[in-house]
């Protein structure tokens, strides 16, 4: 399977009466985006209003509480469309040609539950901890209709769909734009791969998906990952929007849809493919709450690694606590099949960094890359403008009573920052 990504570099976003991409500037008619979002019945049913804003790198702007971050893309050649099984029909994606609006994102924000979190600072010390401070962000803030308190599942669904629809609308603007550059990614069949790279180690990416329930969900071709069995994807399917985030809790280490579209493990394995290793495939597996599900899913991960005759596997997890058990089960069982593993995680090692980092461990999990310590304390200065709302800050993950100080600054753990300790290794924090 072969996918070509054509990158259209976005260097500015402006509101306009006409929506288009011209000379690197995205012009957006917010009313047209709103109308496109409201074409969905669930959005119509649960979202009272949307407001729109633009946040640019370096501006004194804080976006919060962030729900999802999405990169706008459009399929220009080949089967399928963006966000298959949710927005586009469920056709298999990952081949043909997709245009990418690079350097920007659609950010959805607004309260769903009272303790929600997720901060993107566009300047100051907080900006260093989130990759999204470097992007031009088109921000959609959603307000629920009255009575939504008893229907938060439905409201979360509506806001998730709204964000994907906004990204679809904007992505479509890149359809007839000549990309500034392009790249191709190809995965061969098993036999072809062995014949072409007989001397290279066979490596797969075991991609663990958050799948515990409300605000902790991931969707694969529209299917709730908790209802899936461990299976195989072409890496380009992930790059082409097959995996979507429904995860709104634990800002620092949730994988947004943008992370899935731009998974750095996939990117790095492709960069090494045919040189130092043979990148065989992605194995996706879930992180359910039921212990028997964990056993089944990790048994299947190990079974597939063996069946594929792998030499090595990179394993990334998503979340804290419960997924640590899946991570260790996967690692241990895959190692026992004779396949070498390296895991990517983050740490909750206490504010002094001295505590045990994970809730589970095993001697076989002896190669670990960390995305940083989520308990690290940071002070975020007051910024000139807030997109969204700050009233929840005292209750967010990593915040505490008094987090929002009288001068408008915030004292909190870096848990509050979207993407700070990403467990795909997307961000720059680590430890040696």
């Amino acid at each position: 399977m072969k996918l070509e990504l054509g990158y259209i570099q976005i260097t500015d976003i402006q509101f306009s009466k006409e929506s288009k991409v011209e000379n690197g500037t995205l012009f957006v008619d917010a009313d047209a985006v709103k109308a496109f979002m409201y074409e969905d019945d669930d959005v119509k049913e649960w979202v009272k209003s949307f407001s729109f804003d633009i946040a640019k790198p370096g501006e004194s702007v804080r976006i919060t509480p962030v729900k999802d971050v999405i990169e706008p893309r459009v399929k220009v050649e080949g089967p399928g469309g963006q966000f298959p099984g949710v927005i586009a029909k469920v056709d298999t994606v990952g081949s043909g040609k997709t245009h990418v609006l690079r350097g920007m994102a659609v950010v959805t924000a607004g309260k769903i539950v009272g303790f929600q979190e997720g901060i993107i600072d566009m300047t100051g010390p907080g900006a260093d901890y989130t990759p999204f401070s470097k992007l031009f962000n088109f921000v959609v803030v959603a307000e629920p209709k009255e009575g939504y308190e008893d229907h938060k599942h439905e409201y979360e669904h509506a806001v998730r769909i709204a964000g994907l629809r906004a990204a679809t609308f904007i992505g479509e603007l890149g359809r007839n734009v000549q990309p500034d550059s392009s790249e191709s990614f190809e995965t061969l069949g098993i036999k072809e791969g062995i014949e072409k790279y007989p001397d290279l180690p066979r490596v797969a990416y075991v991609h663990m998906l958050q799948s515990q329930g409300l605000l902790h969900d991931t969707y694969v071709y529209g299917v709730d990952a908790k209802r899936t069995l461990t299976t195989i994807l072409y890496p380009t399917e992930t790059m082409d929007g097959a995996i979507l985030s429904g995860n709104c809790v634990s800002a620092c280490d949730k994988n947004t849809t943008y992370h899935h579209q731009n998974n750095p493990v996939v990117a790095e394995l492709f960069a090494q493919h045919g040189k130092t290793l043979n990148y065989v495939c992605n194995i996706i597996t879930n992180e359910n709450v039921y212990l028997a599900d964990k056993q089944r899913s990790s048994d299947w991960s190990a079974k597939l690694c063996r069946l594929l005759d792998l030499d090595g596997a990179i394993i990334s997890q998503e979340g804290f606590g419960n997924p640590d058990t899946d991570l260790i089960m996967n690692t241990k069982k895959i190692e026992l099949q004779g396949v070498k593993t390296t895991i990517i995680t983050d740490e909750y090692a206490g504010q002094d960094g001295k505590s045990q980092s994970l809730a589970d461990a095993d001697p076989l999990a002896d190669a670990v890359v960390t995305g940083g310590n989520a308990n690290q304390v940071i002070i975020l200065p007051k910024l000139d403008k807030v997109i969204g709302m700050l009233d929840y800050v005292d209750t967010i993950a990593g915040g505490h009573a008094g987090s929002l100080r009288p001068d408008g600054s915030i004292e909190a753990e870096i848990q509050v920052i979207t993407g700070a300790t990403n467990e795909m290794g997307f961000n720059t924090l680590s430890a040696r």
């Binding site: 709450v289 212990l291 504010q351 505590s355 505490h400």
Partner: protein, 139 residues
């Protein structure tokens, strides 16, 4: 998945009491998150099976006061792996600084909701449907 008739939900979440179908046995007590973990640990040590992960959810143990854990209704034989999971969960709980914040009634409800939804996900129940039934009963 075990039959509802073979499991027991240990919880301090009042929403679980009202939100599960009748065939589920719910052992509710107005105790802390940590006390729930200790109660589950003692049951697991006594041979009750542990069916769900005690640290379900990315909401940290020092943020939410609510926790539901599923165990077997009857003791069997102690499973070492399950005992290790509950023990490690208590160690992890103790690693977090105790939360000092005052939770508003709405935020308490939201924490109850997430715990309930995660429990339903584990049990293969539709949390949204359960909540709709509860909401309709209130009307």
């Amino acid at each position: 998945m075990e039959s509802p008739l073979k499991i027991c939900v240990i919880t301090n979440n009042p929403l679980v009491v009202s939100g599960l179908p009748k065939q589920y046995l719910v052992d509710y007590a107005d105790i802390t998150y940590r006390q729930i973990l200790v109660k589950v640990r003692d049951l697991v040590y006594a041979g009750y099976r542990l069916y769900t992960h005690p640290l379900s959810g990315s909401v940290k143990p020092n943020e939410t006061p609510y926790k539901s854990v599923v165990v077997s209704r009857k003791p069997e034989k102690m499973e070492v792996a399950e005992a290790a999971i509950i023990s490690a969960s208590i160690e992890t709980f103790d690693k977090f600084r105790p939360g000092k914040r005052e939770l508003t009634a709405q935020i308490q409800k939201d924490f109850q909701l997430v715990d309930y939804a995660l429990l339903c996900g584990a049990l293969g129940l539709d949390a949204a449907a359960g909540l709709s039934i509860i909401a309709n009963q209130k009307l």
